[in-house]
Symmetry: C2
DNA sequence: GCCACCATGTAAGGGGTTACATGATTTT
DNA sequence: AAAATCATGTAACCCCTTACATGGTGGC
């Protein structure tokens, strides 16, 4: 039950509505916490009813009204408490890797194609995160920002996302190439 | 609903019981698919009742009897079908990263400590995977095994796990060091 | 006019997590 | 004698996913 903490952590950055949070989760938070929009609406309601966040109606004339939330002192306490209990090891679920695990026993072609698609997606994410990081640190160079810039939390998690996507990109690229080579020059048996 | 495919993929490697699968999931499959033992027992029952795997009782005298499973032709068809539908993007959930995201607003010390613990865990995993890979390729050097060795699926997913742990190790190490430096030499304001 | 975007909600059903239960054998 | 390993199961509860519903505004 730690979606709540991911939401609280995201709201430390400023006031956001469920819809805005959904986009934030989609582009950056998804590096370390996956959640679909519907979960956020549900969780925001629960968090407010428990007093960990406080909602505020914002009337808009050019578009639908929205409700934006901020973390309450009780919410801060909850985060503080959460930081002291040992975190569980992270969980990963990757369909694509399941396919690769089975690659000796099923058709290789579709797997290679999916790997190559994923390579493109990873590349796009690398570029995106690179730009997000540039935006976060503004005029400062990276070394300076890491030493003194603020906020540092979002910067660090984004760096993690970048490293992860780079690592993913390398692996999917190598794996796709390797599997292609293996179907081009198979098993090497009985060169009779 | 893709735990089933992770189980099927794992069973391609040989006959395993629920208990054995649990250990395999714990050490290697967890690189790309997290599941607790209880899920496996449940899923194995479902898969067998659907005819995708076939169980076989193994009588043991030195320890409790067990039931080992193999993938049926129907199970192979299901895997084959699964390989052709586009995979969903993977999901990640990391409590530790949630803490780092919030690091500007909560106590830093406990977070640093957890990062350092995680660094040790990552190091241990790197060593483990390195040895697993050695075991898988036997006498062959890596380049040769990648070109011709079999099975290649488990080798590739293990390589991914290794890369992931290395990347994690680097990030947690750097992040812990950086946060330590920042609390040693804070904000740098008003050097009056 | 139609599609995309903004903005939120209810509800059903499936999947995942945790607690608890059982019991034999081997190791410390 | 206690703890760890082997081995599997039932049940409750919570979380997550998906489908569906609603409705206003802005751009093509």
């Amino acid at each position: 039950m730690a979606l709540r903490h991911a939401v609280l952590a995201a709201l430390l950055d400023g006031e956001y509505s469920g819809y805005q949070l959904a986009k934030i989760f989609d582009v950056s938070v998804s590096n370390y916490w996956h959640a679909v929009p519907q979960q956020l609406y549900t969780e925001l309601s629960k968090l407010e009813s428990e007093g960990l966040i406080k909602g505020r109606q914002v009337i808009q004339h050019d578009r639908p009204n929205k409700r934006v939330y901020t973390v309450t002192p009780a919410g801060m306490d909850e985060l503080e408490r959460f930081a002291t209990v040992p975190t569980k090891p992270g969980i990963i679920r990757e369909d694509l890797l399941v396919l690769v695990q089975a690659v000796d026993h099923i058709s290789v072609k579709p797997i290679i194609e999916q790997l190559e698609e994923r390579a493109l997606a990873a590349e796009a994410k690398v570029e995106l995160f690179t730009r997000v990081l540039e935006g976060l640190r503004g005029d400062l160079d990276e070394e300076t920002y890491l030493r003194k810039g603020e906020p540092i939390g979002p910067y660090l998690t984004c760096l993690r996302g970048l490293a992860h996507e780079q690592s993913t990109h390398q692996w999917v690229t190598n794996t796709a190439r390797l599997l292609r080579e293996r179907i081009a020059e198979p098993a090497e048996e009985s060169e009779s």
